[in-house]
């Protein structure tokens, strides 16, 4: 296969970026998208040029490092797939592929396709946890948890923090990310106690960090590589609006 690449190049956070075009032959359909970029980079280095910076680590769709906006879609055109899992067989011979970084005020570009997603960590730090110290837990089976709740919690906790929801949203909102965490932890008796307070603190942090608000376009759930749905956002809204924190 042969592809034409249009890739965003930006030296660092302060520089102005621009698109550059590359042509790549000998692309095997079995290659992952990132392996395709690897081979481009190998060529660029040999030509004495600067390779394209992009993030990756596990290369099996679970660490959440990789993420780029490929032909107008976060993680490309395949359903429930991270960029590292995307295979070149999803493209046609001769295709032009446009690759951009996640674009959001809250995710500034670090270099080329690498963005700074530390805002997600800050949101979790604002309340995305159960306040329990090591050693304070009782037996794991002491509190039964309905299977349904455990399953919902699993689905929500499968968020890998890649940022595709923010990248997809026309408002660059992190609502799905926040909602997944709030919904995850609200499923357990232990996590329930802090649930309303958690929702308030995490949403406040999200607003503060420059993410937009949710306008229910559902683009996030369509692009989430882990298939997290906006039912999470409904749950977050419930927690936020109806459950008052018992602070008296």
């Amino acid at each position: 296969m042969k592809v034409k690449l249009k890739i965003w190049r930006q030296k660092d956070a302060r520089s102005k970026g621009k698109f550059e075009e590359y042509e790549l032959d000998n692309v095997a359909p079995d290659m992952s998208f990132l392996e395709m970029l690897d081979s481009l980079n190998q060529r660029l280095i040999k030509e004495g040029k600067s390779p394209v910076a992009f993030e990756y680590d596990c290369r099996e769709g679970i660490c959440g490092s990789c993420g780029m906006y490929i032909n107008g879609r976060p993680h490309g055109n395949d359903h429930k797939t991270t960029t590292c899992e995307l295979r070149m067989r999803k493209f046609k011979d001769g295709d032009t592929i446009t690759v951009e970084p996640w674009r959001a005020a809250a995710f500034p570009v670090v270099k080329d396709l690498v963005v700074d997603r530390s805002a997600f960590d800050k949101i979790i730090q604002a309340g995305g946890y159960v306040s329990v110290n090591a050693g304070a837990a009782h037996d794991a089976n002491a509190i039964p948890v309905p299977k349904h709740n455990a399953d919902v919690a699993f689905d929500m906790a499968s968020c890998i923090g890649c940022g595709a929801c923010v990248a997809a949203c026309k408002n660059a909102s992190a609502m799905l990310f926040v909602a997944a965490k709030v919904t995850h932890l609200a499923q357990f008796p232990q996590g329930r106690i802090e649930a309303p307070e958690r929702a308030k603190r995490m949403v406040a942090k999200m607003d503060e960090l420059g993410f937009g608000s949710c306008t229910n376009t559902r683009a996030c759930e369509a692009e989430c590589p882990k298939g997290i749905t906006i039912s999470a956002i409904a749950k977050l809204n419930r927690e936020f609006i109806f459950n008052k924190h018992n602070d008296s």
């Binding site: 290659m31 099996e60 110290n133 304070a136 794991a140 309905p146 455990a150 232990q190």
Partner: protein
């Protein structure tokens, strides 16, 4: 003089940890705040250690090379986490878990350490559950367990096929809580470049800021390495691409002993290599062997489609060779059996380097829905990569480098031979012997971080309560920083023609061919020569683009590959030294008539701990004799 004092407490096996804990010194909360601890790595061991030390009130600094602590490679653990809860009432116990691990490790681990890992396993499960980790539950709301390779009880706790991810999210959330409280300071996108030793004690690290390229100094009263394994030495492995052995290697070069480096687990069920550009081998969880049956055609070079091969022409070789454990034999055994069949010409797929893992019978018996419930995400992952659905066609699998049982030598307190330097999780060597059983990794790594290190480190730090903050303007820091900068400068200035990735690929091939699943003296000796040549060429023909004062992923790779080439030699030295087969280490010279591993307890019942003797010099071997007081050494049979 023997450098190695394992400090194993006296007393009966079951009481050792309890007695030891009672004797460990404590530090009062007011003093803890004055003590700095550095933790490198944020996987399950790093996150758990850092959050727990934070909860206890120490002043903790945590480093990771990723952009967020949540991405450490523990995230990719699939199958589960073991604990001796005996929820299934199948007569499981701490002792049995201990025994299974010790036997699974082919009697090359310390009894006391393994027993303690089993002992704290239950606490780990309780803690994760409290943190909100959604382990699989039955309709009664209680936790489900499944069975794993190498054992006959069901003691594995799991969350579908992404247990590591779910546990790491729990550990990361606890870490985040401490960061918000200010007890822990997080330094992401930092790579540890060197260890700083002052007056014989580990007192700090030098890191490179991966975004700006700045070299930073960080000091502390103690340093904890939680930097994982070095399985990417094979280039293609199941590990994250950036996982590396550099932190441990730096520690080794500063005086920490490296134990059993050649004990590397080759995981039997990975998706085979599809093309030459491949950067990674994706693991398919061992749990699949609960329901999948492994087979190859009985006819050599059979090119029929798998579903067209009738039942009586299939060779279910694991069931045939190991009737008692069948498809659930331990990983090393399953890997070698697959290699044996493929080498004999029965392998399938375009390269002939794969075997089938077939779910046809399980789907017929339990229904597609049940299989989907347990392995849905793995099947999806497989289909995405290969374009084939395992519901319709058997999976094709082949062994891949996975886990390193070897690592920095630590005593019972998890301290290396450098005072104040600790190694936890996969980066140490202590609990898995020569082979790790499935689902024991999450268990050990979390146990180390939550319930062992926080106790033992206090005993060391108790001497330091009057030591003020360690200054970073000492000559030791100066030297270490200069050496780091020199090395980077050297790497940047070679300006050859070959990329770090290419060198890494070539290193991987040498290691896989001569120090992989099967080793022999001739091959290992050849590997030493090849590695020297590769090293020479690396330092003369490497090409690193761009500059060192920016985000430069090629420089990161070059740094790691340089260390890997040296580490590769240590693996080979260790494999050469151990003229027996045990666990994952299979020396062709030492096998039974049936081709099973043959241990030599009389001569090799020891931990091989290697000391750095200087660049270009052969490392010095130290032996820690393994004493087995509570189990009888026997042939490890799964027949």
């Amino acid at each position: 003089m023997n450098k190695l004092n394992a400090k194993i407490p006296d007393g009966p096996l079951a009481d050792k940890w309890t007695n030891h804990k009672a004797k460990l010194r404590l530090i009062n909360p007011a003093n803890r705040r004055k003590l700095d601890v550095i933790v490198v790595g944020t996987g399950l061991s790093g996150s758990s250690a850092a959050s727990t030390l934070g909860e206890l009130g120490y002043n903790v600094k945590v480093f990771c090379y990723q952009d967020s602590p949540r991405r450490a490679h523990s995230v990719a653990a699939q199958g589960g986490i073991n604990a001796a809860k005996n929820y299934k009432n199948d007569n499981d116990s701490v002792y049995r878990l201990f025994y299974d691990m010790l036997k699974g490790g082919d009697f090359r681990a310390r009894e006391a350490n393994v027993y303690r890992a089993a002992e704290v396993s239950n606490l780990v499960i309780d803690h994760y559950t409290a943190l909100g980790v959604p382990f699989a539950r039955d309709y009664g709301g209680l936790i489900e367990n499944r069975s794993f390779g190498g054992v006959q009880v069901s003691r594995t706790f799991y969350a579908k096929g992404q247990t590591g991810q779910q546990c790491l999210i729990g550990a990361y959330s606890a870490l985040s809580r401490q960061i918000s409280k200010g007890t822990v300071t997080m330094y992401p996108r930092r790579e540890m470049m060197d260890l700083v030793v002052i007056d014989g004690k580990a007192r700090g690290i030098i890191v490179r800021n991966l975004v700006t390229g700045e070299i930073e100094r960080h000091s502390a009263h103690a340093v904890v390495l939680a930097t994982g394994g070095y399985g990417t030495i094979y280039y293609l492995s199941t590990l994250a691409l950036n996982s590396n052995g550099s932190a441990a290697w730096r520690a080794y070069k500063r005086g920490a002993l490296f134990a059993n480096p050649s004990f590397v687990q080759i995981h039997p069920t990975s998706i085979p290599v599809l093309n030459e550009h491949q950067s990674k081998l994706t693991l398919m969880s061992e749990s699949l062997r609960n329901d999948g049956r492994v087979w190859v055609p009985k006819m050599k070079g059979d090119t029929r489609k798998p579903n067209d091969i009738p039942e009586d022409e299939r060779d279910y070789y694991l069931e045939r060779r190991y009737p008692a454990f069948g498809n659930l034999v331990p990983r090393d055994v399953a890997s070698r059996a697959a290699k044996e069949r493929c080498d004999a010409g029965y392998g399938v797929g375009p390269t002939g380097l794969s075997v089938y893992l077939d779910f046809r019978d399980a789907i017929q018996k339990k229904g597609r829905k049940s299989i989907e419930e347990n392995y849905g995400n793995l099947f999806e992952m497989y289909e995405k990569i290969t374009g084939e659905s395992p519901y319709e066609v058997p999976m094709r699998i082949y062994p891949a480098g996975h886990y390193t049982m070897g690592g920095l030598w630590v005593d019972y307190n998890l301290m290396t031979t450098i005072p104040g330097l600790y190694a936890i999780g996969e980066s140490n060597f202590s609990d898995h012997g020569a082979n790790r059983l499935g689902a024991s990794s999450l268990m050990q790594t979390s146990g180390d971080g939550y319930f062992i290190l926080p106790y033992t480190i206090a005993d060391y730090l108790a001497d330091d309560i009057k030591t003020p903050k360690i200054p970073t303007n000492t000559p030791e820091f100066d030297t270490a920083e200069r050496e780091v900068k020199d090395r980077i400068e050297r790497l940047m200035s070679i300006n050859g023609t070959e990329t770090a990735t290419n060198f890494h690929k070539r290193l991987g091939k040498i290691m896989w061919d001569y120090c992989g699943m099967v080793r022999n003296e001739e091959g290992l000796k050849k590997a030493l020569i090849l590695l020297d040549e590769l090293n020479e060429e690396f330092w003369h023909n490497l090409k690193v683009p761009d500059s060192s004062n920016e985000l430069n992923q090629e420089l990161e790779k070059a740094n790691r590959v340089a260390d890997f080439i040296e580490l590769g030699k240590l693996l080979v030295y260790d494999a050469l030294n151990r003229r027996e087969s045990c666990g994952a280490h299979f020396r062709e010279e030492s096998q039974t008539e049936n081709g099973e591993a043959k241990r030599d307890d009389a001569n090799y019942s020891y931990v091989a701990a290697w000391e750095f003797a200087g660049d270009g010099k052969e490392p010095i071997l130290h032996k820690e004799e393994l004493k087995f007081e509570y189990v009888k050494l026997q042939e490890r049979s799964y027949k």
